[in-house]
């Protein structure tokens, strides 16, 4: 099942069909280092992860076979299900908002033409992307604090009654954490979509304008379809970021207050490394992986549907 496409030279005279052709052997040889790394660091861990998920194991001592018990726990424990629910909520903040905002911003920046202002706004929007997520989580937890910048600004504009410890409030903790993700990802979305817009044939816009199309019409008939590939990539990346989010939450709320912001990655870390229940942690990890694949694959299909 390796399914590695080997480079084939389509010369008129085909090599004899006995044994591996020279080109193929070379191909494999060149592929070897990457293949070893891939098998060693991705495929093998995945395989042993599946193996562990059927055991009750503390990571050191002797493991006992428990069949599907760990999976049953994942699907029945309200705490773990709640974590999955929170991750799905985060999709709004990690995917919908950044991609939506990115589209609007990219279109706006494009209409600015290539002035210094457009370049400056691109850079500023992209900046959060270079900050490590863990640092973003810490910085935002200060800004969200009772005495932090967010509340100070609210008070300064006369909205002091809104002030609250955002990450400690049961109603606002998850959206507040989610917005950190939006803040980080919007820049990436904008920049990628801008380059996508750059690739769209300008004559299409001209034609539309001659036909009397307005901004909205242009956006929906030219920009949006032209960006389908970029949007698919961004939705895929940001969905994975949402479902496997760890660093922002670990550094800002650690899952609290209560379990309001608990997400699968935090649960897996705790179950596996604090409670030393490697089996359950592996099972939850496998379930999370299947969830990610199940959500991401249709997006890939969708993006290609209108390709031909």
């Amino acid at each position: 099942m390796t399914g590695v496409p080997a480079p084939v030279r389509r010369t008129g005279r085909a090599a004899p069909r006995k044994g591996p052709r020279r080109g193929e052997a070379h191909g494999w040889l060149l592929l070897l280092p990457a293949l070893l790394a891939y098998v060693g660091f991705v495929v093998w861990p995945l395989i042993v992860g599946v193996q562990y998920s059927f055991y009750d194991w503390n990571g050191v001592g002797l493991a006992t076979w428990v069949g599907f018990e760990n999976y049953a726990t994942v699907f029945t424990d309200p705490e773990l299900l709640g974590a999955i629910g929170n991750a799905l909520t985060l999709l709004v903040f990690f995917t919908v908002i950044p991609v939506g905002a990115g589209l609007v911003l990219a279109t706006l920046i494009r209409s600015l033409r290539s002035g210094g202002f457009a370049r400056a706004s691109q850079t500023i929007l992209f900046l959060p992307q270079v900050i490590p997520l863990a640092a973003a989580g810490i910085a935002w937890s200060w800004m969200y604090a009772q005495t932090g910048a967010v509340n100070e600004i609210l008070e300064a504009v006369g909205l002091g009654w809104l002030a609250r410890p955002w990450l400690a409030d049961y109603g606002t903790a998850l959206p507040a954490v989610g917005l950190i993700g939006s803040w980080v990802l919007t820049g990436l979305c904008t920049v990628l979509l801008l380059t996508g817009i750059g690739k769209i044939d300008p004559s299409l816009y001209e034609a539309a304008r001659i036909d009397g199309a307005g901004w909205w019409r242009e956006f929906f008939t030219i920009t949006l379809p032209g960006l389908r590939q970029e949007i698919a990539v961004l939705v895929t990346l940001s969905m994975i970021a949402a479902l496997s989010s760890f660093d922002i939450i670990y550094t800002s709320t650690q899952g609290g207050p209560g379990r309001e912001t608990l997400v699968p990655a935090i649960s897996i870390y705790r179950i596996g490394f604090t409670q030393s229940d490697v089996g359950l942690a592996s099972a939850f990890g496998i379930v999370l992986m299947i969830l990610v694949v199940a959500l991401v694959l249709p997006i890939q299909r969708l993006a290609r549907a209108g390709d031909r």
Partner: protein
């Protein structure tokens, strides 16, 4: 297979292959699942040496010992420096990692072929069952540690079934902590409070006085669970101490859901309802609430002797430290306290040397002074040994007196966070966040924690 034929974009196939590849990996995992991972530690109890196999005489050879400790605690640096000064043939390497990383990696570190000789280990968990820790009983006999208070060593013992409180000695403390209440005396004076409360009732009166006059009664934080110093302090005054300990030691059938614990948790809920805690309590971590109290932003705070030096520096003479008062006047005090616990790796090649170091920390006058100076904690050991010197009237002096008083009254209990490896982050922290913001009752709190406990302990 799959040669590029130019007609079909190859990525289409690639995408179709993805689920198939995962399915293949899953199948491979299923096949592998037939063989169990891990190794049988064998309990590590059958080959325990007796006192005649160990030596209390320090070797003359050159020895290099390694210690794995948490970041931010310079005690091991200072102690090893002094030890090497006294015994130049013994040198140390201290490796540090954050508390969370160290505790998460400890079992794997200990199981490796080259483990540290000594490791900071807050909860033993299944390390004893897996045969990863050295049993110190032979040294207990050889060095005569029976003159040390057994109540101090009891939490450091574990039997073969993973129940603490009895069985072999697997840990010792580099310092032994005691907890209590710090009071800002300047604020107290302004409020007309003339001294530490002597009962829980008096404490509640003081809290109400502070609240009425706009002073924050209790500075506490619960982002990382530290409000549980308050929760457990309240429980300690109502609970049957021995019963509470059987739960913390994981004795079969032990329960957290006792009338005393419920009463304590309900009291905390009452305090939460009354607004005695900071409004943003769930966003305050340990360092945030410590610095708030240090800035004079509240009357009381529940904390341990390890913060004495810091509070003294921040508040000067305007602060006092005392044991949590009992429910009724004249009842004995009960306070959380624990060893800053370290374990010797079963695979250590220098057991005699590292235990010599541990014994030295408990007995050498200079070492005991270092423990006090660096951590504010008592060095433990034989109570008849002279205590190190603390500055007269200082918080450190109060802390030492409190340690002695608790030792004499036999009132020390472990921290409930140490009950199991996962209970603190998995249950006590999230549930206490709900308790101190009046989302759940005291009864619900103890029931939920007990449920998690049964799940975790039942697994082994």
């Amino acid at each position: 297979m799959a040669h590029r034929d130019g007609r079909q974009p190859s990525r289409r196939r690639g995408a179709r292959r993805a689920p198939a590849a995962i399915a293949a990996a899953v199948t491979a995992g299923l096949v592998l699942a037939a063989c169990a991972p891990g190794t049988d530690g064998g309990g590590g109890s059958s080959d325990t040496p007796d006192a005649s196999d160990v030596s209390t005489e320090l070797t003359k050879k050159k020895v290099k010992l390694t210690i794995a400790d948490e970041t931010g605690f310079p005690l091991t640096d200072k102690l090893t420096e002094e030890y090497t000064r006294q015994h130049p043939n013994v040198t140390f390497t201290v490796n540090r990692d954050t508390f969370q990383n160290l505790t998460a990696n400890a079992p794997r570190l200990l199981a490796s072929n080259n483990p540290p000789d000594l490791i900071r280990l807050p909860t033993m968990g299944e390390t004893v069952k897996d045969g990863l820790l050295a049993n110190l009983d032979p040294y207990h006999k050889a060095y005569g540690w029976d003159s040390w208070p057994e109540s101090q060593l009891e939490p450091l013992r574990m039997d073969k079934d993973g129940v603490r409180g009895s069985g072999g000695l697997y840990q010792l403390g580099l310092g032994y902590s005691v907890t209590g209440i710090y009071m800002n005396t300047k604020l107290a004076e302004e409020l007309g409070i003339d001294g530490p409360p002597e009962t829980l009732g008096e404490l509640e009166e003081d809290l109400a006085t502070a609240k009425a006059k706009g002073v924050l009664p209790i500075v506490a934080g619960d982002k990382d669970g530290v409000v549980n110093f308050v929760v457990q302090a309240a429980m300690n005054q109502y609970a049957d101490k021995e019963e509470f300990l059987t739960w913390m030691y994981n004795k079969p059938g032990a329960s957290y859901d006792t009338p005393g614990n419920r009463k304590g948790a309900e009291l905390v809920r009452k305090w939460a309802d009354a607004g005695y805690f900071p409004k943003d309590i769930n966003s305050l971590d340990y360092f945030a609430f410590v610095s708030r109290f240090n800035d004079g932003k509240g009357l009381f705070t529940f904390n341990g002797n390890w913060e004495a030096a810091n509070y003294q520096k921040g508040l000067g003479d305007d602060v006092t430290f005392f044991l949590v008062p009992p429910a009724k006047k004249g009842e004995g005090h009960v306070a959380m306290g624990a060893a800053n616990s370290f374990s010797v790796a079963a695979k250590s090649k220098n057991k005699d040397e590292i235990v010599h170091f541990l014994n030295w920390v408990h007995t050498d006058a200079k070492a005991r002074q270092i423990v006090l100076d660096v951590t504010g904690a008592s060095a433990g050991g034989d109570p008849s040994l002279p205590q190190p010197k603390a500055k007269a009237g200082s918080l450190a002096e109060s802390a030492l007196e409190m340690s002695t008083q608790i030792a004499n009254e036999g009132g020390q209990v472990d921290f409930m966070a140490n009950t199991t490896a996962g209970i603190y982050s998995g249950s006590i922290i999230p549930e206490s966040q709900l308790l101190v913001t009046s989302k759940i009752s005291g009864k619900e709190f103890v029931q939920r924690v007990q449920k998690f406990y049964e799940k975790e302990v039942g697994k082994r």
